[in-house]
């Protein structure tokens, strides 16, 4: 079902952050080598949730198009976090990159569509998209190091 309302999109963002945090926490347990980096991603996700909710709850007004701003198809951004049995660390990182790309696209699309809302909401989405883009680069570099 398409997400039309600001409330639904914020809840969906929270779910993406929670699911991806859980994925990184699982990875940190399985691959001790980069444990700190992976856990830092999970921690950053919690901050992202705070940032999105703070922006939304801080400026939500019934006068702006809160119920009519979005046309987000959640199927385009959902990802699977289960790793195949015997998957290597490289496989896991490749999955993480793929996941980050979907999340970046979500935040970028949400930012574009929420331009009619108060500036704080699209700005929060843009900032998180940038942070996740940096994370994607880090993951690629870990992958390049022959993880």
């Amino acid at each position: 079902m398409e997400l039309n309302t600001a409330s639904a999109v914020v809840s969906f963002a929270k779910k993406l952050e929670e699911d991806s945090a859980k994925f990184y926490e699982d990875l940190s347990r399985r691959y001790a080598k980069d444990k700190d980096v992976l856990l830092s991603f999970a921690k950053e996700n919690v901050k992202n949730i705070v940032q999105v909710e703070r922006a939304y709850y801080g400026v939500i007004t019934d006068a702006i198009e809160g119920c009519f701003a979005f046309k987000i198809n959640p199927d385009e951004y959902t990802f699977k976090t289960e790793l195949a049995k015997g998957a290597s660390y490289s496989d896991a990182l490749a999955k993480a990159v793929e996941m980050e790309e979907k999340i970046i696209k979500f935040y970028s699309d949400a930012a574009e569509q929420s331009k009619s809302l108060m500036a704080d909401v699209p700005r929060a989405f843009v900032i998180i998209a940038k942070k996740r883009d940096n994370r994607r680069s880090m993951l690629k570099s870990l992958l390049g190091k022959g993880a």
Partner: protein
């Protein structure tokens, strides 16, 4: 999509909050019904004259000490209230959805605007400063002291049960007055929660009182010599009555009321940005607000533009998701009650009978997300070929009905808007600054929108209104509210 959890789980009897205590009323009891589910969620008393008397007495007794409390100490109470409102933001919002039916986004917007008024009133130490002139004559100084007046009555409407009393109450108490709030008996639960938080914030007993009820409470407030002023938001006939009564009893008054807002669409508007704004304007809060769009005026004689614009409006409107506002996918909730739905249906019938073209019909079985009774739900409705003399072109419908008119040019469109006795929140959609300025300059409207469909002023601006949309001089919110709740005492001083 998941339904958010309901905060009100048990049916309780609402009490009045008088002198810092929760007091059971001796009045008749009425059910409070969630319009989406049809379930009774509370029972509210229709309080008696004795109860309004007790509240006035408590407020009058509290006033001298509260007035002497320093502005900073009063603002600290408001700061604590603000913090408590933030902590309970989601609960307060969900209560509004349960009691009123609006969507959760709309309720959170209402909560936020309510809190913003508390935040603005927190600055009372500077907001209510007077002014001073030295040596207006030899050795004589003159200065103005804004002083509080006493006890104010605040009469809230059903459509914004939480926010609207907060357009007044924070400023009234910040300036040193005491208040008695009468929430709408249709949806009094968020005001009860607010009073609980007021209590927790540590306001002294009697400063903030809530008396539930109906006409008896309103009449009691209007007639009581111990009440110095009234703020009211509601229908125009009631506002006129309140204005008249306050004149007769020597009370100051802010009476904000009905509307018929015209949304002018210029052919050069940004269509993609305009359509969502129109959805919010006409169908947000299920059309139950005094800033809702009521008449859509397409300006110009270009049939191609008219047809393509209307096709887009109808297409988008027909896809609005209707249901319980606690479902995050829902874009429009029910009307507040069955009577209001029947009233709106009556207007739709009149539109058909008077020859308007029914382009989108909201009658009949409404497609609702989830399993809920149809009782209060109605679909969005669009009429074309509406003229200003039709009932649907003239009256405030207070429901999700868009009446579309055409005007040859801006002059004619402005004349159409001016043919309505209301002047609350007209708006224009255009990409021409020149046209926008022309509209802003000429339109008679308390609040004016330029590419904004709901012209709701921020808490630090007055909520204006003109002609039959407002009776009074000063408005609620911001500096005008501070002015309303204070009297100017001018001192001319010489030491001999």
């Amino acid at each position: 999509m998941a339904i958010l959890e309901e905060p009100i789980k048990e049916v309780s009897l609402i009490k009045n909050y008088i002198n810092g205590e929760w007091v059971e009323s001796k009045g008749e009891i009425k059910d409070v019904v969630n319009p989406a589910t049809g379930k009774v969620i509370a029972r509210v008393p229709i309080s008696t004259n004795d109860e309004i008397e007790a509240a006035v007495e408590a407020a009058k007794t509290a006033f001298p000490d509260w007035r002497r409390t320093t502005p900073l100490a009063r603002s600290r109470c408001l700061f604590r209230l603000k913090e408590l409102l933030e902590e309970n933001f989601e609960e307060v919002s969900r209560i509004q959805t349960q009691e009123h039916g609006k969507t959760i986004d709309e309720s959170r917007g209402e909560t936020r605007r309510g809190i913003e008024n508390v935040e603005v009133a927190c600055g009372i130490a500077t907001l209510m400063q007077g002014y001073f002139s030295e040596d207006i004559a030899s050795g004589i100084d003159e200065y103005l002291i804004p002083t509080p007046l006493g006890v104010f009555g605040i009469i809230g409407p059903f459509n914004f049960p939480f926010m609207i009393p907060l357009w007044s109450a924070p400023y009234a108490v910040a300036t040193g007055n005491c208040v008695i709030i009468k929430p709408s008996s249709e949806d009094p639960l968020s005001q009860r929660r607010l009073a609980e938080l007021v209590d927790e914030a540590g306001f002294p007993p009697g400063v903030w009182n809530v008396v539930n009820g109906g006409r008896t409470v309103v009449s009691g407030m209007l007639e009581h010599p111990g009440i110095v002023g009234i703020t009211f938001v509601g229908s125009t006939p009631t506002a006129k009555y309140i204005y008249k009564m306050c004149g007769e009893t020597g009370k100051r008054v802010i009476a904000q009321c009905g509307a018929k807002n015209f949304m002018l669409i210029m052919p050069d508007c940004n269509v993609a940005g305009t359509i969502p704004a129109l959805m919010t304007s006409f169908f947000g809060n299920t059309g139950q607000r005094c800033l809702s769009g009521a008449v859509l005026v397409i300006v110009g004689e270009d049939d191609g533009f008219y047809n393509s614009f209307m096709d887009a409006v109808v297409d988008t409107t027909s896809k609005i998701i209707i249901g319980n506002g606690l479902d995050e996918s829902v874009q429009m909730g029910p009307l507040r009650d069955k009577g209001k739905k029947e009233r709106v249906l009556g207007y739709i019938e009149s539109g058909i009978q008077q020859g308007a073209k029914l382009r989108l019909d909201g009658r009949g079985e409404v497609k609702i997300v989830g399993d809920y009774p149809q009782t209060c739900f109605i679909g969005p409705t669009i009429f074309e070929n509406v003229t200003p003399d039709m009932k649907i072109g003239r009256d405030e419908i207070f429901g999700p009905v868009m009446s579309v008119m055409r005007a040859k040019n801006l002059d004619e469109a402005i004349d159409m808007a001016h043919s309505s006795p209301f002047a609350n929140g007209h708006a224009i959609f255009t990409s021409s600054g020149k046209t926008a300025r022309e509209f802003q300059y000429r339109i008679v409207s308390g609040n004016v929108g330029i590419n904004v469909g709901i012209v709701a002023p921020m808490a630090f601006f007055p909520f204006s209104g003109m002609r039959d949309s407002f009776f009074g001089v000063l408005h609620t919110q911001g500096r005008e509210a501070v002015r309303f709740f204070t009297e100017s005492k001018v001192v001319i001083q010489r030491w001999l």
